[in-house]
């Protein structure tokens, strides 16, 4: 237990230090929406075969803590076992690193997301993933969710595109 606690503290310290040491341009205060294509498998602990799962999600989020934390919703549809179902639930995204482009700004970020999703066929998913955000246009992610109701794991990869417009700063001079 104490070993787990030490690892937890170490991870927390590294997260906090990585957040505070960067000058901030990623995760500005904004409303942002992504559309994500995902696919992967549902694995069971018993001998049942793994099932393919794939789908499409829309993820609107709002910055809760500028340069650090976003929160929002996930809503989508997925295909598995010859059925199409829906899922939805809350999500938060926590920035852990920012990729600097010299003095010019930032090229992207690395963030984790945690979410809880309810499926239309009794799925109860809790989990999250790690996301590589490139140029605020494209996100590549890996995720793992535990369906604690149906006792299985969802392991997936995804690619998301920002579909919301980026708000540009107001300029009060003629240009």
């Amino acid at each position: 237990m104490s070993r787990i606690f030490r690892v937890y503290c170490l991870l927390l310290c590294s997260l906090v230090s990585s957040i505070t040491s960067f000058s901030q341009t990623e995760f500005p205060k904004e409303f942002i929406t992504h559309i994500r294509l995902h696919s992967g498998m549902i694995t069971y602990s018993n001998s049942e075969p793994e099932l393919f799962v794939g789908g499409l999600q829309i993820i609107p989020q709002f910055t809760l803590v500028p340069n650090k934390l976003r929160g929002g919703l996930v809503a989508g549809a997925f295909y598995t076992d010859n059925n199409i179902n829906g899922l939805f639930g809350p999500t938060i995204s926590y920035k852990i690193a920012e990729f600097k482009g010299g003095h010019f700004g930032s090229l992207g970020n690395l963030h984790i997301n945690l979410d809880h999703l309810w499926g239309t066929d009794e799925q109860h998913l809790a989990g999250g993933g790690i996301n590589l955000d490139l140029l605020n246009k494209l996100i590549v992610n890996l995720s793992a969710h535990r369906d604690y109701k149906l006792a299985n794991w969802w392991i997936q990869c995804g690619i998301a595109f920002r579909i919301s417009k980026t708000k540009q700063p107001k300029e009060t001079f003629p240009n």
Partner: protein, 347 residues
């Protein structure tokens, strides 16, 4: 004697020029400039220097951080914009520090300011001046500012390094036709230091403050990735423009000195002044140096790099305070090395 102050571009390194001006003011309170020519950060300094607001200049150049000058963004968000940074903070600073009262004050002094910009449409240097009757030159366009806002826009345009900072439509409300849509960027693209411009405008004693050292430092480090290479390239571009700007006036000055030495030697050998003048009169060929006899050019520059990041785009108050002090010391050294016979400005 018509005296000019020329201040080159260099972003945050303008703090060095502020230190020089402060020390010159203390040492020579009556030192007067008939014209102040500024490029980029020099254009930001010129109006306040002409209005005698050196304390404001020190505040401007020692208290503002980079985010109070430009706003950085996610680079991906700016790919279809006019610049990587947004410059609204700089515009707010210019409006705060350079007021209409300052503009009116400049008009009442007998110091004219000249602000160098580069027009993206015509590709030529365009100079905005408070002089109602400037001398025209085939080498650049020259326009008289209409009011304080027009001058502030010219300052902003002169300071905006293209790609990084937004091109400015300086004449949107001050011209007609196509011209009002013209976009202007940093004058340093074409002219880093306006020495030749000062000569063209009739100056024969020029104080030129340059913000980069004469000798380049040899770096031991390797440039391994895109952005550091890009930053280094930007610095090299501006330094190259600077070298070219200084080279021609220096050749001009050396040629004048050489000719004066030849004439003196002829006089010493017993040739009369009239005869010498006759030798230098060539039918059908005018003397290109006639208008700039007795040109004095004083260069004041740092001995080592001042810092301030690529193109002076990093505004660090601690570093800029050190630049102000370096400027004060440089002014002191400059005065100490002057030949007392050259000091024409003590009344």
């Amino acid at each position: 004697m018509k005296r000019a102050l020329v201040i080159s571009g260099g972003g945050s390194k303008g703090a060095f020029a502020v230190g020089i001006l402060q020390r010159l003011r203390i040492l020579f309170p009556t030192l007067h400039f008939d014209m102040i020519i500024g490029t980029s950060t020099g254009a930001l300094i010129a109006p306040l220097a002409a209005a005698g607001q050196l304390d404001l200049l020190e505040e401007l150049y020692t208290t503002n951080t980079t985010d109070k000058v430009v706003t950085k963004h996610r680079i991906g968000d700016r790919l279809n914009q006019r610049s990587i940074y947004s410059v609204e903070p700089l515009w707010q600073l210019i409006k705060k520090y350079i007021t209409d009262a300052h503009y009116n004050n400049i008009l009442q002094t007998n110091t004219h300011i000249y602000l160098n910009t580069t027009c993206l449409q015509t590709q030529e240097t365009v100079v905005y001046t408070t002089n109602p009757a400037p001398k025209f030159s085939p080498n650049y366009a020259i326009k008289t500012t209409k009011d304080g806002e027009h001058m502030r826009l010219a300052v902003l345009g002169s300071a905006c390094q293209p790609v990084f900072m937004t091109p400015i439509k300086i004449d949107l409300n001050y011209a007609n036709g196509k011209e009002k849509e013209f976009q202007y960027v940093d004058g340093g693209v074409r002219e880093y230091a306006g020495i030749q411009m000062a000569i063209d405008q009739g100056a024969n004693e020029i104080f030129c403050i340059l913000l980069a050292p004469e000798s380049r430092e040899v770096e031991g480090k390797q440039y391994e990735s895109l952005f550091p290479i890009l930053e280094r390239t930007i610095s090299m571009f501006s330094e190259d423009v600077e070298k070219n700007d200084i080279l021609i006036p220096q050749i001009h000055r050396k040629t004048l000195r050489y000719l004066q030495s030849v004439k003196q030697k002829m006089l010493n050998d017993g040739i009369s002044q009239n005869q010498i003048d006759e030798y230098f009169k060539i039918d059908g060929v005018s003397n290109p140096l006639e208008a700039s006899d007795n040109l004095r050019l004083y260069l004041i520059r740092p001995e080592a790099s001042l810092g301030g990041g690529p193109g002076g785009l990093v505004f660090d108050p601690t570093e800029m305070k050190a630049m102000v002090n370096t400027g004060r010391d440089a002014a002191q050294d400059f005065i100490a090395k002057l030949d007392p016979r050259d000091v024409t400005w003590i009344v």
